[in-house]
Structures are given as C-alpha cells and as structure tokens.
Subunit: 247 residues, 2 copies
DNA sequence: TAGTGGTCTAGACCACTCC
DNA sequence: GAGTGGTCTAGACCACTAA
C-alpha cells in the first residue's frame, strides 16, 4: 500500500512513482541539486518518500529517459550536466578533415533593441510588444560563410549582453548566456524548412540568389521548459543532411 | 537466482530480462504470433521462461519501447499491427481543408528491370549487380504533382509485381507488397537533404528549374530489419516542414 | 570493504475489460 | 466474476566504484 504521500500538491490518484518523479523533477528544476551533483541514494529516496526501492527506481528511470539525470552503476545518480550543443552537427555536415565536429567561427553583424515581432512572441509564449535584443550573426569556416542567424532574446532577462562588446561573444552563445545572465539552455524545439535564397541572404551567405537554403527555426528552452531564445538559422542546402529512423 | 535460461543461444551473462526480450523478439520476427494477436499472459510467460512476473514485465516493456508490441490494460499484450504509413505526413504538409491527412493519388510513370545501382545496393546491403525492379512514380493532388519517387526492389522477392498492370497499383505500395509478395514493411531509415531541381525533375514536378527541392532517401525494413525497398522521393521545398525536439 | 546502482523474486492489491 | 495488465512491496544477491 502506498503510504505517506510526500507530494501534497498532487492528485492522490496518480501512481506513486509518478508523483515521486514529479516531485524530484520539480526539485531539480528549482536547483535543489546542481548539475553534476548526485541525487540521494535509492534507499534514502525510498525512505524519504515512504515508498519501496522498486517504486523509487521506476520514478528515477523515467527521469533518466527524460534526460534529466544519469545513473552510473556503483557511483550514484547524477543531475545531468547539459552538453546541449545546438543542432548544428545533427543537421549540417560540419566536420574537419579527420571527421571530428568543427565549431564554426562566429561574427555578430548587428545587435539592437526592438519589440518582439508577433510571430516570435507567439512562438515564445510572450505578450506581443515585449522588448527584445536582436542579434544578427554570421558563422563561417576559414572565412567561408555557412550559417546566417537571427536571434531574439527577451531584453529583461538578457540585459547584460548589451554591455559586452559583441566582438568578444565567442563561437558559442549558450555558455555566454549562462555566464552573464545565469540562464541555462537544456533543450530546444526546432522546425526545419527550406526556401530559395533571398538576394540579401544569398549575398551574406555567398550564394546565388534562389539557391536552395535550409531554414532551422529554434526555440531554446530552460530546464523548466520556459522559452529563452528564438533563433532562425539559414544554411546552404548542399551542406545539409539529416537522418531519421521511423516506424 | 535466474533459473532455466530459455534462450540457449545467448550468453548466460546477459541479464535474464534481456534474454527473454531477445527470445520473444525472435519468436515475433518468426511470426509465431500474427499482428493483432495477443502474446501469452505475463503469468504464462513467467512460467515458461522460468522467471518472475516482474522480470518478464521488464522484458515486455522494452518490446513496447521498441514498438513491437502494445499493452492494453485488462485485455492483454498484442503484436503491433504496423500502421506504418510512410513519412509523408511527418515531412510534408499534405492535409485536406479540415486538416485531416490526405493521401495523394499515384501514377506509375515507368516500370522496368535493371541491375541494382551501386549506391542502392550498398544502402540495402545487397551484392552489386542484384537484379532489381525499378519504379518511377508521380504522386499528386487533383492533378497537381507533389512528389516524384524512384523505387528499387530486389526482383526475386517482388517478382509478382511484374505481372500486375501498374495502373492498378493504387495509392499506396506497402499494402501491395504485403498482398502480392507477402512482405511487410514495419520501419524505415531516412535521410533528408535538399537540392536545386534538375530540369527533368522540375518538369515532372511542375516547378522552375533550380527551385529548391527536398530529397528523402529511404530504406524500408522488415520486422527483422532486413532492407526491402530503396526509395528516393523529391518534393517542392515550400510544402516541406519538419519538427524535432532536441536536448 | 563499504556503498552504489542493477537484477530478480514471490507475492499483494488495484483498475480495467469482457462476459 | 474471471482474467488481464498496472502498481507496489520488502526483501535478496550481483557488479561496479572508490577509499
């Protein structure tokens, strides 16, 4: 019999392992433990949640499946340090001569403040008119452009970015967000589409107008799944390749 | 203690639930039960495999995760009847006015016999020079072309297709494969890319030469993961949209 | 050697489906 | 009411890690 339900805010009819999972997830989201830190042992969790080890195990297993924690036999269960590295390597063949992934250089072409465009606000679940920081960013290998990105960030949360010289942004933005704004991207929703390059995009990417271009629209999310960043990336279609398994 | 290992061909050091899963999967692949039929109950499986119910349950759970069986509370565990419907609706926005998915009409432009091209043979793990049936197929809505497909099938397995009038192929090929060749597609590996339409493709699809086109290369697989069909589909990029969740 | 997660047991009771 | 899968228990022993 389930005893001592320890997640008072939940419907008691939910399975116990489900409630334990939700409680743990909420605690992790609230940074009760930092990334890399261990959770309490299964025995401790069982005791503190008034459940058997098997039930706790089932709860933890679903957190593993969700990518929130990681179990290492003989060591413990750890909060996953997100190695979220954008989807570049999933979608584009950016590899060095040895096949190892290569991060393209990055140049900020423009940084300004605007109201969030309607479509962006909608995708991020923000009210229209929220103030935004907009970045226009060109990424390249050895000076050859490969990716053009337009990025919108809610201004209030990302204000510190306005005070840094864009030349010092570096090749990756997400570490910057973490360092200066205390904001951690852990997942994203992306939509792929394709189009013919507009004259402006073609020029910036070094393509012919009308050449096929892949468009990746991304909403980057925090651990609690709140939208943090909206981004649209365009790259030449001939660099693009994506693999799926379906059934 | 694990007792009576019932999967003699396996390394005894593998976990029992793992061996049970593999045994069940092999039996399903060998058509011990037909799609839609129920597996034995958990209690029966536990007895016949000399394991406890919990262990059998873990094995069955992994088959559920792999999409091979389906559990219905109070009813039983059933071999999944594959509703594999190609990836059209995953990749392209083919919907009617009410938003319901719409299957495009299909016309076979050409059917002939050739040796498997090298790249196709490689993708299907066949020896180069295997004889093939090649189909060229145009799919459209109300006469407007939306997808151009080139299909290669190993001739020996699909011989009956050579004796049917291509006009009677119908809108979907996989039911045809099943009916005439006793071959069931249950999953597929696909690779997406994009290119500028060649003059020939553009003409058949009703596009301008050079317009962006999405290319989907598919290897369709049987339940035992043997390649059955190789297919390359091309469609206008403006119809294309694909959604992924990453972390 | 002590402590962790990984596997496994042999039951119990519950929720659901079907007759 | 009989039979199914769904949840849960309270242990056991094993494999692995680290001191």
């Amino acid at each position: 019999m389930p005893s001592l339900p320890s997640s008072p805010s939940h419907d008691g009819r939910l399975p116990l392992y489900h409630r334990i999972r939700d409680t743990l997830h909420a605690e992790i989201t609230a940074h009760k433990w930092k990334p890399g830190e261990p959770l309490p042992t299964e025995a401790e969790l069982a005791k503190s949640h008034g459940a058997s080890i098997g039930t706790v195990r089932k709860a933890v297993e679903s957190l593993v499946a969700a990518g929130v924690v990681e179990r290492l036999q003989g060591k413990g269960t750890f909060i996953r340090r997100p190695d979220f590295q954008s989807s570049l390597f999933r979608f584009f063949r950016f590899a060095g001569a040895d096949g190892a992934p290569r991060v393209p250089e990055s140049r900020i072409l423009k940084r300004d403040e605007t109201p969030m465009p309607v479509t962006v606000a909608a995708a991020m679940n923000l009210t229209v008119g929220t103030r935004a920081i907009r970045l226009l960013r060109l990424r390249s290998f050895d000076g050859k452009p490969v990716l053009l990105e337009e990025i919108f960030l809610p201004r209030d949360r990302f204000k510190p970015l306005l005070e840094i010289d864009p030349c010092e942004f570096g090749a990756l933005l997400y570490p910057l967000y973490e360092q200066y704004c205390g904001v951690l991207v852990t997942s994203a929703r992306e939509t792929l589409s394709a189009e013919a390059a507009s004259p402006r995009h073609a020029k910036l990417l070094g393509l012919e107008t009308g050449a096929p271009v892949i468009v990746i629209e991304r909403v980057a999310l925090a651990l609690d799944r709140k939208p943090l960043e909206w981004r649209q990336s365009r790259g030449p279609a001939d660099q693009f390749r994506y693999h799926v398994e379906i059934r």
